[in-house]
């Protein structure tokens, strides 16, 4: 078998096929009206505009404000950037970052491998074996930089992070609007609020990293 055929077969397992709808195999139903559909980008823009306009109406059913983050429950996630680039900002020294935002790091996150600043937001990158393991973002409440869309079925957990109130989003099906990029899917994320600062830790083991001594 040639390499490209093998690669195609591997790729097939990684394709995000559209979710199979619920069919009624023996019941005819009227087909949807055919129409020229707008582009995915336009759909996304409209969806976000509707979400923004309807935020108040959704509050009772699915919008959670936590620190500087807004989490909206939706039935369907919008299209995501399939090749996201995490623009973490300009590299700065940790001491400089601490002067900009007086944040406190949990013990296991006290020594980031790199620190970046982007629009008054601090991003701390943690590596393991030279590869990204976690990103901790710190920003002020009210900065409005973080919106998350989660499935209506996602079970959010209220937790404590070293005594501070926290919210854990265990589902990987989370779309962020962060770092100025397009929406993307996120790993499990832990949010906590301390001294008017919102902390967002994206890592597979976020709870252990943030809470461990």
């Amino acid at each position: 078998m040639s390499d490209v055929i093998h690669e195609l077969e591997l790729l097939g397992a990684e394709i995000e096929w559209p979710a199979t709808p619920a069919f009624a195999p023996r019941a005819a139903r009227a087909p949807r009206a055919r129409s020229r559909r707008p582009s995915r980008r336009l759909i996304l823009v409209v969806a976000l505009a509707v979400l923004a306009l309807a935020a108040g109406a959704l509050a009772a059913t699915g919008v959670i404000h936590f620190g500087g983050a807004t989490i909206t429950r939706v039935d369907t996630l919008p299209p995501v950037d399939k090749a996201p680039r995490l623009a973490l900002g300009t590299p700065v020294r940790l001491a400089e970052a601490e002067r900009i935002l007086p944040f406190t790091l949990p013990p296991r996150l006290a020594h980031p491998d790199a620190v970046y600043m982007r629009e008054d937001t601090i991003n701390l990158l943690y590596l393991r074996d030279g590869k990204p393991r976690a990103v901790l973002t710190v920003f002020r409440e009210g900065s409005g930089i973080l919106d998350k869309l989660v499935y209506t079925t996602t079970k959010l957990r209220r937790v404590r992070v070293n005594g501070a109130p926290g919210l854990y989003v265990p589902d990987v099906h989370v779309v962020d609007f962060l770092y100025g990029g397009g929406p993307r899917l996120s790993q499990p994320t832990l949010l906590w609020v301390k001294d008017n600062l919102t902390y967002r830790l994206e890592a597979r083991d976020a709870l252990a990293l943030a809470s461990g001594g």
Partner: protein, 186 residues
């Protein structure tokens, strides 16, 4: 692993006798591959849904003409794909293939975590996807059926409404064009 032939044959036999529950089970067993095939052919999830739904109803009504003992899936895929072709979108308007979220992908060597995959993307995977998207509808459909969905030649022929020999030649030519898109020697 596929359903044992006797089990499917039994379901087909029961469905041919009018057992709706048996037919529902048959559809559930094949609806994913049917819907994805329809999507590849039509280029639209909405059209694929309509096509598959219509095809399932037509297949139910046509079960009396199904040749007993024949494999069910190619027969069903042929009906689904025919409906999908009728809804096929014009070139350039098909929905793009998209990779699953990094966190959902199967672990592979060198990609230890979803975050890593997000930060350090596998360039080759993206190149391959982009090259597929640059192919013509016919080329993408045949490669999609054969190698992304893993359909056999007979099933691909049924899905695309072409002869089995045409599947072979079209696949071969599509692979040449894909390698050219990737900048590789044929």
């Amino acid at each position: 692993m596929s359903r044992p032939l006797t089990s499917e044959a039994d379901l087909v036999a029961r469905a041919r006798r009018g057992d709706g529950d048996a037919y529902d089970q048959l559809v559930r067993a094949h609806q994913d591959i049917a819907f994805r095939t329809a999507w590849l052919v039509s280029g639209s999830a909405a059209d694929a849904e309509d096509a598959a739904q219509e095809a399932f109803v037509k297949a139910w009504r046509a079960l009396g003409r199904f040749r007993e003992g024949a494999p069910f899936r190619p027969w069903l895929l042929a009906i689904v794909a025919n409906e999908a072709r009728n809804r096929r979108r014009s070139a350039g308007r098909r929905e793009a293939l998209v990779l699953r979220a990094a966190a959902e992908r199967r672990p592979s060597a060198g990609a230890a975590s979803p975050l890593e995959a997000a930060v350090l993307r596998t360039e080759r995977r993206d190149e391959l996807l982009a090259a597929l998207e640059r192919l013509s509808d016919d080329d993408r459909a045949v490669l999609g059926c054969r190698h992304l969905l893993g359909l056999g030649e007979e099933e691909t022929a049924a899905a695309l409404g072409i002869r089995r020999g045409t599947v072979k030649s079209r696949t071969s030519r599509a692979l040449v064009r894909l390698r050219a898109e990737l900048g590789e020697a044929p």
